[in-house]
């Protein structure tokens, strides 16, 4: 009995020394699939399909030290109505992952919030989740007089639903938070 135990112990130690200790494999690279690197808000003029404005925020290194970069293409016109769509992407993997699909699949657990400091801009959510509550992947945006200011877009995970349509009333946790500067011409 005692020798048996001793044999097992010695075998285990030997196994460690000979097998596992020489085991120094290169670990597998992990590309985080859930990461949201990119938030892209596209506005299409309801009366002029060629007037497309795209606001894009890209943070290529995720939680790395580099700050997101902001890009704007197109011109936002005064006194117009736009249809807005938002996309959340993970561009750190190739091909890029479309996180918007996951948000759509779990629509009752998500909501996108829009808030702007520009007087006269009205943003309404035009889509609903599986429970019939507002979701915010699709929006309608109306402009009035020319001006400029900020637009803040926040994606919340597990917010209170339905809510008073404000960030402060929705709770939940922030999955994405970007700020675009808008110029209305």
């Amino acid at each position: 009995m005692r020798y048996q135990i001793l044999k097992i112990a010695i075998t285990t130690v030997l196994y460690c020394v000979l097998v596992s200790c020489s085991d120094n494999d290169v670990p597998q690279l992990i590309n985080e699939e859930e990461l949201i690197t990119t938030v892209e808000y596209t506005l299409t003029n309801d009366t002029d399909a060629t007037n497309v404005v795209v606001y894009k925020s890209v943070d290529a290194d995720g939680s790395g030290p580099e700050a997101p970069t902001l890009m704007t293409t197109g011109t936002l016109l005064a006194n117009s109505t736009y249809s807005g769509t938002i996309r959340f992407l993970n561009e750190s993997v190739a091909p890029a992952e479309n996180i918007t699909e996951e948000v759509q699949e779990e629509s009752s657990e998500h909501e996108v919030f829009y808030a702007t400091s520009i007087a006269g801009i009205a943003i309404t959510k035009t889509d609903t989740d599986s429970d019939g509550n507002l979701l915010g992947l699709r929006t309608a945006l109306k402009t009035e007089a020319p001006g400029n200011g900020n637009l803040t877009i926040v994606l919340r995970h597990e917010p209170i639903k339905p809510n008073d349509n404000t960030l402060s009333g929705a709770a939940g946790e922030t999955d994405a938070q970007v700020v675009y500067s808008l110029i209305i011409q």
Binding site: R2, V13, V26, I30, D61, S63, P68, T152
Partner: protein, 809 residues
Amino acid sequence: MFYKTLMVAALFMSAVTIQAQDCNLELKGIVKDFHDGAPLSFAQLYIQEIQKTVSTAADGSYRIPDLCAGTYTVIVTHYDCKTQTLKITVDKNTIKDVLLEHHINNLQEIEIIADVHDDHKNSQSSTRITQNTINDFSGATLGDALATVQGVTALKTGNSVVKPVIHGLYGSRVAIVNDGLRQQDQEWGVEHSPNIDLNTASNIQVIKGATALRYGGDAIGGTIVIEPERIIAKDTVKGRVVSQLQSNARGGSISGSINNYRESGWYQQATLTYKKLGDFEAPDYVLSNTGNQTYAANFAVGFHKFEYGASIKYSYYNTELGILRASHIGNAADLVRSINSGEPTVINDFTYDIDPPKQMVEHHGIQANAYKRIQGLGKLEIDYSFQFNNRLEFDIRRGENAGKASLDLDLTTHTLAAYFFLDSMEDFEMEFGVDGLYQINSPNPDTGIRRLIPDYNSQKLGWFFSLNHNLNEQWLLDAGFRYDHYNIDATKFYQTSRWEGLGYDQQFPQFEIGEQGNQILTNPEFRYDLFAFSAGAKYFADDHYDFAINLSSANRAPNPSELYSDGLHHALATIELGQLDLNKEQSYKLNLVAHAVHGSLDVEVNPFVNLVNDYIQLIPTGLESTTRGAFPVYQYEQIDAVLAGVDLGLNWDVFTRNSRDAQSIEMLRWNSRFSYIYGQNKTAEEPLITMPPIQFSNELVWSQGVFKNLDLKLSNQTILKQTRFPDNDYAVDVPDDQGNFSTQVVNISESPAAYSLWNLGAGYAFAKAKINLRVNNLFNTNYRNYLNRQRFYADDIGRDVQIQFIYNF
């Protein structure tokens, strides 16, 4: 067994009380186990001259009143031991503590000492937790039981993750030794609690300094030594069942152990524990998702003789711990919202379900041990142990990753050690040992989240020598030295931007293996030489006083988290970064212990000072923005620290008298503990973070008062506000509903207000069983604890009524 109890009872009943005039001297003391100082209940003391028998209480104490001056023959018996006869001269009120030797084969069978101090063998500052205290916490955690010792506090995340803090230090700075085996369960994490079932412990010794060199020299905070049930060399079967129900969290625990001992030396031990708790409740709301569930099993089989023996042990621990739902947050702006709202952002109805965020941890330990005594020399011992620890942490995730662990670490540790204990010389005891450790950490890449701790292999090889010398009756000297060589070899992917941002491409180009996408594979490998030294002296002034001084110096190598961690931490919305160029920590600690026993009063004062050079600490270094929003960045940096303080312990038998039927001793005892610690960052001249605030703990125990075998207990714990904390508050832009940003201060530094908790307890013993009823937080007080990470989000737990049943056989 039943027969023995009957005999004891008969002896007890036939005790003759002699009330002689002018004979009012008293002999009293405590009967303890020689090995571990654990009090022995139901020991019989028969005084031949007056034909009187007394038996010890649950705390091992006995009292023989109304003695005339003279010399008495006292026969001390305990059911596990041989009968022993002592001659005791009583010419004044006398305290005689009796140390009984359980292992009747061993060297000295009985020894009488003149005071009640816990540890006579060396100069270190140590306190022992007895079986009674362990039983009280059978449904709680190891950390909760340890926090009953002055100078030890609990660092918590909620109520299930509890880490012991000794003199202000925790984590890798505190070694936990379970049954001779140093626990390797990823203890570096603040949110990682020791994976040990408290119910397997027979007693626990807390050593407040790096003096337990046998178990490693790097425990600059201290060492916690958990000892299992001792082995008895006679044919007997012993066991215990402890079950507990509690109102808060609406659950309970059950633990059963059975031990089979044979006179031949063979023995088997087994302990099984199960615990299930639902959501805890604060006075005003449910703490959603704070339930937990634990299974534990321990088995041992061995052969124990005085001259040689061997054993094999297996232990298993499996726990699932819910983390407060409201503490999982997205970014720093969410944290502001949580702190300012004053109550958790998610409050659901009570449930037993445990959802993410949660932890699931499994620990296996296998240990083989053999020893041989060499006549006229000492004892040789060989130990091998294997430990496997798997830690899963679940965050709230999206899409197909929901329900998948965010962190999945496998830690495998082999340890081999040989010790030689030389005790054949009259006044010297020496111990020499060598040990080696091999450890593999392998994170599972299937989590889809970049590894918090990388793949690494580490090796440690060390040796130590220690010496105890009894200079004379008054003086005891001890000294020890330990050396370890430690090597850690990691393979880690860094984000290239992080690697370059920290300047590692300039500082450590030799570690680079190659780039893959926007990540860089590196092989950071480090070696450390660690030295530890301890020396001390103890002076026994007379029967009433003893003093000890101990100086220890120790090194601790940076742990994997301090070196390599990098990533987002959801609990506090921080980005935590390791630092590759950390040096080893260097600690110098001075402990003084003054101890006095005067009649019914026992006081111990333990001032200490610990200077730690290159103390590794997380320091806020700035704010980084990501697509999620802004996060403060904390990096491990080294500072010079000083920790100083004083612990005070007092036990006073306010009154003792024979109860009305003269068969038991009625006693009112006051137990008091106090601890204060001052922690200062000398480099930045600011207070150290997470230093336990001043605390007082007082307890009144009235035994055998109202009626026989009933103990009543009233206790209070008062924690003052920690007024010394570093200001790590930072400002963050919080979006409002109008599309503007307001700059708000994230108030993470301020300590919570002082609080005072009252607890009430009653215990009734009958036959071999005991029923305890306890009410904790009697007045349902709202409070938050500075050392609980949950304090940012929610109040601590409210009133809890517990009922406990203990049965010994």
